[in-house]
């Protein structure tokens, strides 16, 4: 009776070898934890190096893995060759075997496909950059600093699993890993009133959203009898059967169940009306954490959103029981709402951090607009491309903000005035990041917006195109306010002497600017990759 179980156990252990990046991050977390417990206070900075080492190793393995899957599509497998002539020995030969486009690991818990690997790459990159930021942020300095790096790493692990999750339980679990650890990060500055407030607000709001989501999931499970999304007896397959046999009134109920599930995902990417938490959390959390929140969990959220969306509304089926168009309209409406709310609210902010928080809501709106074009892969591909660009420009902006906050002590616009005089390179790169966030050429922010708008225009969603254009104009105003404060306005008072800015900031900022220019000049291959990684979902 237990034979099946042992087989399963065996298979699971073998599958462990296929999630080396995750294992590496996990090892980084655990080793870092041990080190942090035993190391003396002044050596706790090294925790970050341990985590960073494993993150980079994970990134490397991930890229190699990706390369293997994407280029070869085959693996070598030993086969037994029995010759017809009985006198000749039996030979074992390795032959190339076609790999399934999407390998389901751990009995369908996670998928091993290029889509997940793309997002894992983004997530790992974002975490590594955030880790370097955290290492040099003054507000995080203190005897307990090591824990922050550990929390970052644990969040990254959740994001990685979320990128590849294909099972409701796995989605819920990794989403919660992402969330629960984030709450602690938001409330990390326990002496700070705002940080504590941010933490508790984040926790309550997050619990609320995941509550709605799992309530929806329970119905999904009840209806289909499965927790797997894909597969022949999975939710998606069963779902189509059900929908096929459904009356119009049942259609609405099905969509309502699905909408509840999507609540939890939309909350993660801070789409309206689930964006309420984000400005408060972004303002109260340590600036490093804010930069991290605005990129990594959002990327993972988009990963699972795209995956679930495409599972339920496959690409290429232009009208699936009429549901697709309704779904598209819904996404478009959310997108318009999100970008408008984000940009309008950002207009009046006087705190750079909160301004960027609202702006990142708006960017989620742009990306959702790309997702609303589900007829072929191009809309989501543009969103994926935008996400990579967004990683560089938003994280870059926060990076500079952390550096400026280190010696100005605050992110208020009036305190940041004339910062370019003290840090010319960082000031200039911040302006470049802001240009890119606005979507001005010759930076990749332009390409991202352009790709999304072209796709939308192609299928006649002129309304969305118009809104993206209008919103870009609005955003120009407040981005330029920040740029003006930093680059043009004179500094308020005589600069207080403080430690010099670590050169790692200069390096990272310059690297990210280079990436933005490169992604603008050389966008085609990256866009092709984005198109390619959507293939396994089709």
């Amino acid at each position: 009776m237990l034979d099946g179980f042992y087989k399963l156990l065996d298979q699971n252990v073998r599958h462990l070898l296929l999630i080396v990046p995750e294992l590496l991050v996990m090892a980084g977390f655990l080793l870092g934890l041990i080190f942090d417990c035993i190391a003396p206070e002044e050596r706790r900075k090294s925790t970050a190096y341990i985590c960073l080492l494993f993150l980079v190793a994970a990134m490397w393995v991930n890229v190699m893995d990706w390369n293997g899957i994407a280029r070869e599509q085959t693996v070598l497998k030993m086969v037994k060759e029995v010759p017809k002539d009985p006198h000749r020995p039996i030979v074992y030969r390795s032959v190339p075997v076609q790999v399934m486009r999407s390998d389901a690991l751990f009995t369908g818990m996670i998928a091993r496909d290029t889509f997940a690997m793309y997002f894992k790459f983004v997530v790992l990159l974002g975490t590594a950059v955030s880790l370097l930021m955290a290492l040099n942020a003054r507000e995080l300095a203190g005897p307990n600093r090591g824990e922050f790096y550990l929390l970052l790493t644990a969040t990254c692990l959740g994001a990685m699993f979320l990128s590849s999750a294909t099972n409701l339980l796995m989605i819920y679990l990794s989403l919660e890993t992402l969330s629960i650890v984030s709450y602690a990060m938001a409330g990390y500055l326990r002496q700070d009133r705002k940080s504590a407030e941010a933490g508790i607000k984040y926790a309550i709001y997050g619990a609320m959203a995941s509550g709605i989501m799992i309530f929806g999931m329970s119905y999904l499970y009840g209806l289909t009898g499965s927790l797997d999304l894909t597969g022949p007896s999975g939710i998606a397959a069963k779902w189509f059967e059900l929908r096929h046999a459904a009356t119009p009134s049942m259609q609405g109920a099905y969509l309502a169940v699905l909408a509840m599930v999507f609540c939890g995902l939309l909350y993660k990417i801070a789409a309206a009306p689930f964006h309420y938490w984000s400005p408060d959390v972004y303002e109260g959390a340590p600036t490093t954490a804010t930069g991290f929140f605005s990129v990594v969990p959002k990327a993972a959220g988009f990963a699972v959103l795209v995956r679930v969306l495409i599972d339920f509304f496959p690409l290429g089926s232009t009208s699936h029981f009429g549901g697709l168009t309704r779904m598209e309209t819904t996404i478009a409406a959310i997108a318009v709402l999100t970008m408008t709310v984000g940009n309008l609210a950002a207009l009046a902010q006087s705190n750079a951090k909160r301004m960027l928080a609202y702006s990142s809501i708006a960017h989620a709106g742009y990306m959702l607009a790309g997702l609303s074009a589900l007829d072929d892969g191009l809309g989501p591909a543009a969103t994926l491309y935008y996400l990579l660009v967004y990683l560089f420009m938003n994280l870059g902006a926060f990076l500079v903000l952390v550096a400026l906050e280190n010696f100005r002590g605050s992110c208020d616009l009036k305190d940041l005035r004339g910062a370019v005089r003290r840090e010319p390179l960082l000031g200039v790169t911040l302006v470049i990041f802001l240009f890119s966030l606005t979507g001005l050429p010759p930076l990749a922010g332009f390409t991202g917006k352009y790709l999304i708008m072209v796709k939308l225009a192609e299928r006649g969603s002129w309304f969305l195109v118009l809104f993206i254009g209008l919103n870009s104009v609005i955003s120009l105003y407040y981005y330029m306010r920040l740029a003006k404060a930093i680059a043009i306005d004179p500094p308020e008072a005589a600069a207080t002497p403080s430690e010099p800015t670590p050169s790692v900031f200069n390096f990272l900022a310059a690297g990210q600017v280079a990436a933005l220019v490169l992604l603008f000049v050389y966008f085609e291959p990256v866009y092709n990759i984005c198109k390619g990684v959507l293939e396994p979902l089709k």
Binding site: L169, L173, G187, E197, I200, I204, A207, G211
Partner: protein, 119 residues
């Protein structure tokens, strides 16, 4: 109203059958969910709000276990419920730690007074 046409039918299928009827559990879960929402909105104490969260999580758990039972004993639902409980514990630990942090910084856990950050 047309939209509510099914409700009387539901009422029939409810109540009857006691513990053998799936819909009784669904009803209970719905009520707990709604009460949890109610608590989250009307409670001002942070701990009270967290209680609302726990109610919502319990509602989902009941749903899962019920489906698991009536589904031919696929144990997935029970596993899911198990994980919900584990995660609720973890979440409660972090959230209550945060409540203490709020208490230390604000000397109060009435969350409608914790509103420094607004537009």
């Amino acid at each position: 109203m047309d939209a509510f046409a099914n409700l009387p039918v539901l009422a029939d299928s409810l109540l009857g059958g006691g513990p053998d009827n799936l819909f009784n559990y669904l009803l209970l879960a719905g009520i707990l969910f709604a009460l949890g929402v109610f608590a989250m909105i009307s409670r001002r104490n942070a701990v009270g709000i967290l209680m609302g969260v726990e109610l919502i999580l319990n509602a989902s758990g009941i749903n899962f276990v019920a489906f698991s039972r009536f589904n031919g004993h696929h144990l997935e639902g029970q596993v899911f419920a198990l994980f919900i409980i584990v995660l609720a514990a973890a979440e409660a630990a972090v959230a209550l730690a945060l409540v203490l942090a709020v208490f230390q910084t604000h000397r109060s856990i009435e969350l409608d007074q914790v509103d420094e950050m607004k537009l």
